[in-house]
């Protein structure tokens, strides 16, 4: 079936190479300055949406970007050994999570998330990439799978539960109204 052939699209993302990181944390400074209000008016690495997890005693220098907020600590306790060095799973995780104080507004505790420096007009490269002269952070194009649209079974399941809750008549009326709205 045609819908099973995975579609690809090209997106831009920040590629991280911890082996090139010199631990200068310029990315944190740039990020926090850009997201300050007014822009650049203050710096505060604790407000940065990228942070370098650093443990110089074990040669850990890992930049991580703020990802999704998670209300609970995960159970991941894996240890990765890369090039004879051990890394905890948390070293690579971008979640704003209760287990650490990364990626939370220091004043409010609200979670922070990387926005690739959303701006109008768009930036050529996110701020952290611009200041990372050692190329631990690079802005690259990446091919990703486009998520296939929800299959008919899923749609049916969803509709059934809606019908159960609101009744078939109400659903029909709403769909008709939505159609009208769209056409007008």
């Amino acid at each position: 079936m045609a819908s099973e052939v995975a579609e690809k699209k090209v997106i831009k993302t920040i590629k991280i190479d911890p082996s090139l990181c010199i631990g200068c944390r310029a990315c944190e400074v740039a990020c926090s300055a850009f997201h300050a209000t007014p822009r650049y008016s203050s710096t505060n690495p604790a407000r940065s949406r990228i942070t370098v997890v650093m443990d110089e005693f074990h040669d850990v220098y890992v930049p991580i970007r703020a990802g999704y907020y998670t209300p609970a600590e995960c159970s991941g306790r894996n240890v990765y050994t890369i090039d004879e060095k051990e890394y905890k799973e948390c070293n690579f995780c971008g979640a704003s999570c209760p287990a650490r104080d990364y990626f939370k507004e220091p004043d409010s505790g609200l979670p922070l998330k990387c926005d690739m420096c959303l701006d109008d007009p768009p930036l050529e490269e996110p701020m952290c990439v611009q200041v990372c002269r050692c190329d631990a952070l690079t802005y690259v194009e990446k091919e990703v799978d486009v998520e296939p649209e929800a299959g008919p079974e899923e749609l049916e399941l969803g509709l059934e539960s809606l019908v159960k809750k609101h009744g078939l008549k109400k659903i029909m009326e709403t769909v008709a109204q939505m159609k009208l709205d769209k056409e007008s």
Binding site: C24, A26, V131
Partner: protein
Amino acid sequence: MRYAETGYNLEIDLTTGNIERVETDPREVEIHLGGQGTAAKMLWHRVGPEVEPFSEKNLLVFSAGLLHGTPVPSATRTSVDTFSAQTGMYSHSLFGGFWGPELKQAGYDKIIFRGRSPKLVYLYINNDKVELRDASHLAGKGTLETAECLKEELGDLKTQVVAIGLAGENRVYMASMEHYNSSASRGVGHIMGDKRLKAIAVRGTKDLYVARPEELYDICTKQYKKIYDQGSSVMTHSHNERWHTDVFAWGFARERRRGFWNKELEEEWKAVTDSVFVRFNGCFNCPIDCHAAIQVPGQRPYIYKCYGKLTYAMAAYKDVKFNYEMLAVTTEYGLDSFSTPQVLAFAVELYDAGILTDKDLPNFPKDSGERFFYLVEKIVRRDGVGDALANGVYHAARQIGKGAEQFDHNTTKKFEQVPLKLGALNYPYFLMTATGAKMNITQIEGSFPQNPIPDPKRRKAFVDKWEAAPQRFKDYYMAWEPKTQPTIEAAVNIADWNETMHYIDDSVGICAFVSAFKGQFDKSSYHINNYPSFISPATGIDFTQEKLWEIARRNRTLIRAMNNRRGLRRKDDRPPEDHWKQRIPDVEQHLLDEFYKFKGWNREGIPTKEELYRLGLDYVADDLIARGILKEEESFEKEAVAVKEEKK
């Protein structure tokens, strides 16, 4: 609203445990900038000449630079200022890494320690929470080991720690403070030990504001690129050690070994470095990776920079492998890698001369490397003769006696100097070595090249693109022919410019490796011409080149007066006797005369009332006059006339 600075200091009384957060005067920025400058003023007012360095009244001041925590790249150097028991004078050192910016982020510009704690403590700062905490579990622990313990126990890898090791705890004069990849040495570690302060752990998550954000950020973005492009080019990145092994003296600063270096050695030493090298790293918000992380199997990891790679090797006539092993030990003990090797080599000489015997050094090994390890253990514990050696060459020589004094050949103002033994007297370097107040020549040199480029065309090409230099220095350089000395006038100006740039760097907290030290190679990303364009938008105060030069002069003069008040005079302004083989006493005295005149000092090297008033340091002049150190109406010219008349 305060910009670039936080506007608050922490005042810590270690005797009583009292902690205060004190608002500072915003006008100080315009007068002294910050960092070393404002620390000097504090020391002048609060530590009189009668205060013994080892006393509760001595202050130990940690100052973040004015630009720390702003987006200005490479603002990393924290200034540590106090009075040293070794010299009896003002003492100052700097360290990089992350500590200063973290302090600003916690909401403070300075920490001022007074008193002496009844037991070993560490200071913990987490924004508004500031506590003196028991450090008995850290007693005797290494510097970086202490940092690791504290990060673990505080549960935060982003906490920045500066700590002393066993050397500091035992008030060894060569003791350093170590933080991450950097250390403060030159006579400040033993004062931290005297105060029974093991470490300071800082965590800050507050905002720091700048006055003209868009303007500042724009220029900073360009500066990242410039600093990166101008490159690291320091010893950590090179395997060719010809320059240092050729130019610097081996052993106890005794002999140069020209032709020592060769291709085979380079390959051999490179293989050693490759076997212990972990990664290059940098300091806060600085795009160059000057430092190398090292892991010698079986020893603790550490991070080093620069000539520290060779100082122990050369002092012991050993190799780079020995040096890496030595640094792993001395970094944890917290020992300065400039002065310590000299003290060790001095002890070896005394033993070889029969002044120190097997009674002083039982089971003293035969191998020079093993001897160094042996001596370090004695010194950091002040065990036996190690107690004298822990006081540095000058004091140890006099304590040991029996002719040991004759071996003290490389100190100035009781402090170990860089192991240089050169031929012809170099005018600017004579002035800097003789008069410098930052203890080590590396801390006041670097803007003006050390030698003229022989080919006039290439010299011209250098001068044409030489960004850092004001016009007169371009003229001096063009007129400087190989194998000759610059004129007296040029020498005076060059010595002044060289130290002026450091006095600016050390007040704003910019690393000299991207500024003052690199002018000579036309690789300084910061210089007198572009400094205002960073400092003005950060602070919201309009600085000009002239204003910055004047502030540096004010800070320098204040520090001179502080030392004058402690007895520093013209007779002390001299290099180690054998620093240059050919000395020219009358030219040297002439140089000093002209330098003093240029600086606004009198014949004794004390700033005149006129100069002090001009700089707004009238309180300094009044104090010096009240103490009888300075006469009311005194100037270099008037004294010269008086001397002439006397001669008649």
